[in-house]
Subunit: 251 residues, 6 copies
């Protein structure tokens, strides 16, 4: 049997984020699995606003179009941009790190909190929790007031702030696990978990493993209904998306 | 007092859709109001899939960036692409025709049905109903199996199919009004309403009027929280969105 | 085309509230529109309890019965008394200020707070938010502890209290807009919005404009299902409601 | 210990309905309990529309005001008119037959169907199910197309129709019990249950017994928050409701 | 007519809890009713964890199997263990004290708080509120940090803590009634209610009365669907549950 | 690094089911992983009713107590018996096949249907969907009318019935994937998926892989709140569960 070949797509344009995710994922996947990580070519260095995301969604689709032959796709931004679009374009499993983090947290704890970057993201995350059916498991969405650009182990003060907020969530709000709401928080998961004493995940590593799980279980993205291949619509000013899709969208 | 100046943005690249919406809206707005209608420069001629929408979202933002000085914005696609993004970029009211149709239908009927184009759209529309809080008012999302490109009064067989489905929804499913789930259905609203005997709306005309209502009531898009102006994030390969925004984002 | 003729019905018996709403609405409607405002003949000077509302509901119906020929009806009490009943009696659009405030707030902000008069109203408002599908958009229902009778610009201490509570909601609870939960708060909307820095509405002005929007879009209250004309039931001790209805309930 | 003294309030003006409910309740209450049944003085002979209910709500309050000294109150109309208002006016338990039927059905079956009179009532009943938290237990709200005035054992064809609809609900929709959505269906409960083979209740008898259960358990309607005594508001054209209340509203 | 014969089943192995519940129930049931109370033979002295409950569920079934001939069954643990199982085994009404407390609290108050023993129980109680449809009525689930074993009138410091938490819930969280989340709190209901000034119930007494109410109304547990008699499945290492059931499961 | 050691616990007493699950799981796990499969010692040969499950829950706990040292636990019954209890007893990830099937289906399709054995299970499965937050993704729960004992590839007529029901769900109800609601359906997953043309899973294989995913991502069951180790409660007639737990419940 051929090994699992995962693509990690970073919707922002910061190569160092991409590299960090690739490393974390490669360390965790079963031996033999292969990981390629891709960075959006254009757009925001970090995604904080709906405008940043508006451009990122199109870029993620373009990355896929350039690399359509992987066995699974992980989208490395917590708001799961373009997950639905990619699912239309392939039978390979496609997973967003946000939905992966919620699914994983709900399997190791009955209640979790989300810790995100800026306060402006809270309503969007609450909406995503509802869309994923996880709102009943989440006790609070808390924001650090620290942007994406200052996340990761190279910013120890951010990690301290995450730990303080996590302890508050556990001690006062009933959190039993922490979902870390930013792709850039991969390399502090274990530090936070150890300090706060509860599981912590931003969905990158566990999302890659869940993509593998779907693939290894023989599950492929449905081509009925919402995720059927895009219609053959004429496009103006850019190539029509439907070209050359058919082979990849047979389940 | 200066008159209301509305922008209608058509997320697809079909100029005839844009013109039809502009005409319908101009006829209905209070006298003195001015309407400009804009068409996406690139992308799908009609939006049927999440991939089509992924590209359209970015195009709607670009249209706004080129025309940032209107008093209100109406986004003329039933899935309300880029509504959140545009709300970050302006204090002017921004309304999507989908949310407008749901709000209007819920004020003239206790239960409504949505009639959409292709079956693949049903789950997305159900999700939008939940996001808008209208799911408890909607008895069914029904699909015609006829694409966006064959909607409008120049396709009388489509209108017949809408009427037949509408009668089914009223007579057997408890619908008391019809939300027509496609921007291209503006010019059959009254035909459908008259034939089925219940109110029918696709949100274009009433959405333009609701945008006016918000504006005339002095309501402006909040600049606190989710809709605050985008962060000053570096962009790669394209202009950063934040440039020159500040004047427009003072409430 | 004949102009829009709106009726504003004040469910309480305080003529000064009626006059204030009429003035606010007349200033905001498109030129040419006509406004008549009516006050309940009997019942509470201000509506604070379910008992007060029980009597007000019947009075609102009686006001309608005396003035059945308007193009639209706005019910000027935040709990939207008799909205369903009036919708049965006419094809003209009928809007309550509570539902209008929620719909408007949800179009200019992703999250809002409601500020109401007495604490006893909080559960009822929470129930109304659920009925309107707006509960996911509302971060909190907060009460001033100041009754309806002491609302409006002639009570500057009340306005100060609203502003303080609004700032608390924005700074600590995630509110991005304020729904002012009392018909008597019309003339402080702009003061509160300016002081707190977010949109604020009690639904009177925007509700009148939304009623106009429905009318101008050609939407009429459905006569199928829940809002069909009342059945021809014998009444005892009062006129049967069905008399003379038929002409008005043809859609 | 003094015996339980229950008031049954019939919100419509049909004395024969009142008598039927009184008989059914008296047969079922524990020995020693006393039942008085009251009929609304004015309004619809049967309540089918929101307009009928608008007047009935005020009448139910007036009946209470004339008879404020019972140990418990049962409101004998399936839409539970004026339940909240009466709870403000007394510490005695107040129960509506609709909420009682839902609570009882949910304790003897995991899923139930509601069978109501006319199709126009379906949306209102669905809303009531949500308000009571019972929507997840209800598989369908079905309508007979037969009005309130033709319910009860003296209309055997109605009973046949109920049984046919009940069998449909059990055999095809997953119903395990039947809630009979009309106060006039008390005397066919057992016939329907026997014929369909599942529990059936319209809430009259079990609602009276639940009112007794609350009273016998020492539970009294809360006077904190929503159900605190009405505020001392001036009334015009009618007596203020607050007069003489205080003694009855001490918990 | 023969009197009502109720079984109270205590899922824990503490006979003194059983005796306290039996006494409280016997005092409240209508005269002539008979109460037998049974204690689980094996398992935890008090039920605090899901593991404790896992064993208790099986024990409750065994108690029923030994005493299958009562007219109604009350399960005296707030998490309602084995309610669904017992409903399969009998047509007699079966009620859990948790669901009874929620139903009763929702009839005497619009909002209530739950006060439970240890913090670990909060998520389970929140889940039970959702399952019962009562989550919209509950403002908070609060924990004492005092285990089941130290509940009841013989622990006055626990009662003081309940009162303090209840006052907090009423004064700051909007509670209008208190659900006491433990079977061992029966004998402090009235003390708490008097001190806090709102209704308080742990569901034991009112649950027994509700079981009686169902029975006296002629309602029997459905034998269609979820609660039909267990299938005739072979059992290993223990008697098959189906033996001898048929007579009792005819409705 | 030591390999992953998974325990599969079959809550029923049919060894052939256990063997089938063990084989399916062993084939799919990454190389090097070890699988042990255990069968409940006592109870129903197949679990169809709440009574069957009541006994199975306790048996699953006993199996765990005898084998507490695995790296992950998969509970092989679709109703996920004892998942919460086992999570209290270990830091190893514990996954039920029902929740795994829902999570997986929701990642490869926007809408799925559940196909279960007997009609009596439908309400329980609907409740589980709500508890897992997956109800918005499920279009229908359909029953075969064929018991657990006749599931699996050795009953080709059952497989035909599943395929027919699956085609109905896809063609008429909007299903895009199938959740097979019984542990005994593992070996027909691929046959059903191929015949119906959509992904199909009963959660056994993908659940084992998800358990591995959690473990490989370093996630361990939380020991805060709901899943903290059981309290040190005295037990009667059986060993107290807390004995010797502490080492295993350090996170």
């Amino acid at each position: 049997v051929s090994p699992f070949r995962l693509a990690v797509i970073n919707p922002n344009t910061d190569d160092s984020d991409t590299a960090a995710m690739a490393t974390a994922v490669a360390d965790a996947l079963p031996s033999g699995a292969e990981v390629e990580a891709y960075t959006a070519e254009r757009g925001a260095r970090s995604i904080e606003s709906a405008v940043d995301e508006a451009f990122a969604i199109a870029e993620v689709v373009k990355v896929f179009q350039a690399h359509p032959d992987h066995d699974g796709y992980l989208i490395g931004c917590f708001s799961d941009p373009a997950v639905d679009a990619l699912r239309e374009l392939t039978t390979a499993p496609v997973v967003g790190i946000g939905e992966a983090a919620y699914a994983a947290a709900a399997m190791v704890a009955k209640r979790f909190a989300v810790i995100t970057t800026l306060a402006r993201s809270r309503p969007e995350i609450e909406d995503a929790l509802r869309r994923c059916g996880a709102q009943g498991r989440c006790v609070a969405v808390l924001s650090l007031g620290i942007p994406v650009a200052e996340q990761g182990s190279e910013f120890p003060e951010t990690t301290d702030a995450i730990i303080a907020l996590g302890e508050h969530a556990v001690n006062h709000l009933g959190a039993e696990a922490i979902a870390l709401g930013c792709g850039g928080m991969s390399d502090v998961e274990r530090t936070v978990a150890a300090a706060v004493g509860v599981p912590a995940t931003n969905g990158v590593v566990v999302g890659a493993l869940m993509t593998h799980a779907l693939w290894a279980a023989g599950l492929r993205t449905s081509k009925q209904g919402a995720y059927s291949a895009p219609e053959a619509i004429p496009y103006q000013g850019m190539p029509a998306v439907r070209d050359g899709l058919d082979a990849r969208t047979e389940i």
